[in-house]
C-alpha cells in the first residue's frame, strides 16, 4: 500500500491569475514552486477554495500545465467549492495540498513509453491530457479526441481547439464539433504500438474499457472519486481493482483500464 511517489505537502499559495472560459469553466494559475516543479501529468492537487472552515474538505483538481513556479488548473463549476474558485483573483491566497498521486508516467513503473498515444477526454478531463501532450511532445501524440456536453461549452471548445490543434471535437447535442462522444474520435482497432490515455466522466471511461475489451492494458485512465484527505489516509476514495481496493488518490488516479473492476462499482 506504500506509495511510490513522495507524499504531498500543504501550501498557502497565491493566485497568479485566472481566465474564464465561459459557462462556469475557467483556468486558474497558482504560484507554487514546489508543486509546479514536481507535478507530472495525471497528478492533482486538493484545493481548499474558501477562506474559512467551510467548505471543509479540499477539492481535487488535476494539474493542467506548469511553467516556471506556476501551475494551472482547469475547473468547471459543479457546486459551492468550485463556485468559490470563480471569484479568485490575482494575489488571493489559496490552500493547496499537492502534488498528489501517480500520473500517466509514474504509474507505468518500469514499462517503456509506447510509440504513440491517443488522448481522449471529456470536458474538464482535458486538463491532465493537455499536460500529458506537452510532456510527451506532439510527435508522440497520434490524435486527440474530446467530448463536451454541448450548448454552453462554446468558450471551452474554443480553448480546446487553441490548446490541441487538430483536436477531434464532439458534443452530445452536436452544437459544438460533431455530434457524438470522444469515443467516436477513436479508431475501431487500437494499433499495436499505441496506447490511449483518457480522463473524463466515469461513464465515458467505462465505455472506453468496453470498446477495447482486449486492449485494456494499453488504456490508461485518470479516475475520479470522492476524496477527503488526498494523502492516502482516509480510505474514502478506494475503487475495486484486480488487486483489491486501491486508493484513487495515491495508488492512482491513473490506472490501466485492465486493473479496474468496472462492474463492481457505480457512481
Amino acid at each position: 500500500m506504500t506509495c511510490g511517489g513522495s507524499a504531498p505537502r500543504d501550501y498557502e499559495a497565491k493566485v497568479a491569475g485566472g481566465r474564464a472560459l465561459g459557462d462556469g469553466s475557467g483556468l486558474l494559475a497558482v504560484e507554487c514552486e514546489d508543486i509546479a516543479s514536481a507535478a507530472e501529468p495525471g497528478q492533482f492537487v486538493m484545493v481548499r477554495p474558501g477562506s474559512c472552515g467551510d467548505p471543509f474538505l479540499g477539492r481535487p483538481l488535476a494539474v493542467a500545465a506548469t511553467s516556471g513556479g506556476i501551475f494551472k488548473m482547469l475547473y468547471r463549476v459543479v457546486g459551492r467549492g468550485t463556485e468559490l474558485l470563480v471569484s479568485k483573483r490575482q494575489g488571493d491566497s489559496l490552500v493547496v495540498r499537492g502534488p498528489i498521486g501517480r500520473g500517466f508516467f509514474s504509474s507505468r513503473g518500469d514499462m517503456p513509453l509506447p510509440k504513440k498515444v491517443l488522448l481522449a477526454g471529456g470536458s474538464v478531463g482535458a486538463a491532465p491530457l493537455l499536460f500529458a501532450a506537452r510532456r510527451l511532445g506532439m510527435a508522440k501524440v497520434a490524435g486527440v479526441s474530446m467530448g463536451v456536453s454541448g450548448r454552453g461549452w462554446e468558450g471551452f471548445a474554443e480553448w480546446l481547439k487553441e490548446s490541441f490543434p487538430g483536436v477531434a471535437l464532439f458534443s452530445d447535442d452536436g452544437s459544438v464539433g460533431t455530434k457524438g462522444t470522444a469515443l467516436d474520435g477513436l479508431p475501431c482497432q487500437l494499433p499495436a504500438d499505441t496506447e490511449i490515455w483518457a480522463c473524463g466522466p466515469q461513464g465515458m471511461l467505462r465505455a472506453l474499457a468496453a470498446k477495447y475489451p482486449e486492449d485494456r492494458a494499453r488504456i490508461r485512465v485518470a479516475l475520479e472519486s470522492r476524496m477527503a484527505c488526498g494523502m492516502g489516509g482516509c480510505l474514502g476514495c478506494v475503487i475495486p481493482t484486480a488487486r483489491g481496493n486501491r486508493r484513487v488518490c495515491v495508488d492512482g488516479p491513473v490506472f490501466t483500464a485492465e486493473e479496474v473492476l468496472w462492474n463492481e462499482f457505480a457512481d
Binding site: M1, T2, D54, F56, M227, A228, C234, L235, V238
Partner: protein, 307 residues
C-alpha cells in the same frame, strides 16, 4: 519554540513529547509521512483499525462533506492483524514515537486472538480498544453503548493484554459516564472520548441515502462543541486520564479540551486539510502557557473546571 519538558505528558502508561495524538483511521502507512520531519508536534499516533481478519470495508460512497465536517463510512477496511504486523509495524516503529494499535472490539474469541498476536511481538506499547463496533456475541448493539457491555469488552481485553490499554468511547452511548466508570473499574489505563457521531446524508439527485448503510460517522469541527461536552462529563465521572477527540482543529480547541479535563487530544479529520496542525497546536499551547504563566501543559488539565 517549546521546550521538551513543557509539552511532556505522561498518560495511561505512555510518555508523550506533546499532548497531540493522531487519531485512528486518518494517517496512511506511507513511509514518508512517518518520518520525524512530517510528524512535528505529534506526541503519539494511533494506527488504523486492526481486526483479526482482513476486512474489505464498505462499498459505495465512503466520505461526504457536511457543513464544517464530514461523514465517513469506511467500514474498518484493513488487512487483519497479521498483515499489520508484517507489513506496517516496522514503518510505525520507525517514527520513534509511542503508538497505539487501534483494535476493533469484535467477538470475544476474535479479540483474544488479535491481542495474542500483538502480545507475541515485543515493543508494542499500547492498545486503543475501539468499542464503537457492534457486539456480535451479544445483542448487536455497539460494545460501547451500555456500561455492562463496555465492562465486558474491557475485561476481555485487559485479561489478555499487559501493556497500556486505552479505551475509545462512542458518543452514541446514552450513559457515557457509566461506560467510562465501567472501563475504569475493569482496568483501562486511559479513555479516549470519543469517536464519530452518528449522522447521515441524502443524495437528493438520486433520491436515496448517500451511504449504502444509510448512517455514517460525523467528524470535524462541526462536532467540537458536542465532543467537548462529553469530555467535560466523562472527566467529571472518572479519575482516569481522558483524551479529548472530536473536531479539534486549532490550538484553541486543544486548549479548551485540556481545560475541560482532558490530558491530551487526538486530531483526526482536521489533518485532511492541514498536515501541519500538530505543530501549530503545540506552538499555540506554548504561547498560551507563557501568557498564563503555567509551567507545563499538564498544568492545564481540568483548570477550567474550577470556576
Amino acid at each position: 519554540m517549546s521546550s521538551r519538558t513543557e509539552m511532556h505528558v505522561s498518560i495511561g502508561g505512555l510518555n508523550l513529547e506533546s499532548p497531540v495524538i493522531i487519531a485512528s483511521g486518518v494517517w496512511p502507512y506511507e513511509a514518508e509521512l512517518w518520518s520525524p520531519e512530517r510528524l512535528e508536534g505529534v506526541g503519539a499516533l494511533c494506527t488504523k483499525a486492526v481486526s483479526l481478519n482482513g476486512r474489505a470495508g464498505n462499498k459505495g460512497v465512503r466520505v461526504w462533506e457536511t457543513p464544517c465536517g464530514m461523514l465517513n463510512s469506511i467500514g474498518l477496511q484493513n488487512g487483519g492483524v497479521r498483515s499489520f504486523l508484517d507489513d506496517y509495524l516496522p514503518l510505525v516503529r520507525g517514527a520513534y514515537r509511542p503508538f497505539l494499535v487501534n483494535l476493533v472490539m469484535e467477538s470475544e474469541r476474535e479479540v483474544r486472538e488479535s491481542i495474542a498476536a500483538l502480545a507475541e511481538i515485543p515493543g508494542i506499547p499500547a492498545i486503543e480498544l475501539n468499542i464503537s463496533c457492534p457486539n456480535v456475541d451479544g445483542d448487536g448493539m455497539a460494545w460501547g453503548i451500555s456500561a455492562e457491555s463496555a465492562a465486558k469488552a474491557v475485561r476481555i481485553a485487559r485479561s489478555e493484554w499487559k501493556g497500556a490499554l486505552w479505551v475509545k468511547l462512542t458518543p452514541q452511548s446514552p450513559d457515557l459516564a457509566g461506560v467510562a466508570k465501567a472501563a475504569e473499574a475493569e482496568g483501562a489505563d486511559a479513555l479516549v472520548c470519543g469517536n464519530t457521531w452518528l449522522g447521515m446524508a441524502m443524495d437528493i439527485k438520486k433520491k436515496r441515502p448517500v451511504f449504502q448503510r444509510v448512517v455514517a460517522g460525523l467528524s470535524g469541527p462541526a462536532v467540537f462543541p458536542l465532543a467537548l461536552r462529553t469530555v467535560w462529563q466523562v472527566c467529571g465521572a472518572v479519575k482516569l486520564p481522558v483524551i479529548g477527540c472530536g473536531g479539534v482543529a486549532s490550538w484553541e480547541d486543544a486548549t479548551a479540551m485540556l481545560l475541560a479535563g482532558a490530558s491530551a487530544v487526538e486530531v483526526g479529520s482536521a489533518l485532511f486539510t492541514d498536515f501541519d496542525l500538530p505543530r501549530k497546536i503545540v506552538a499555540g499551547l506554548s504561547t498560551y502557557l507563557a501568557e498564563q504563566k503555567i509551567d507545563t501543559v499538564s498544568g492545564l488539565t481540568g483548570l477550567g473546571r474550577h470556576e
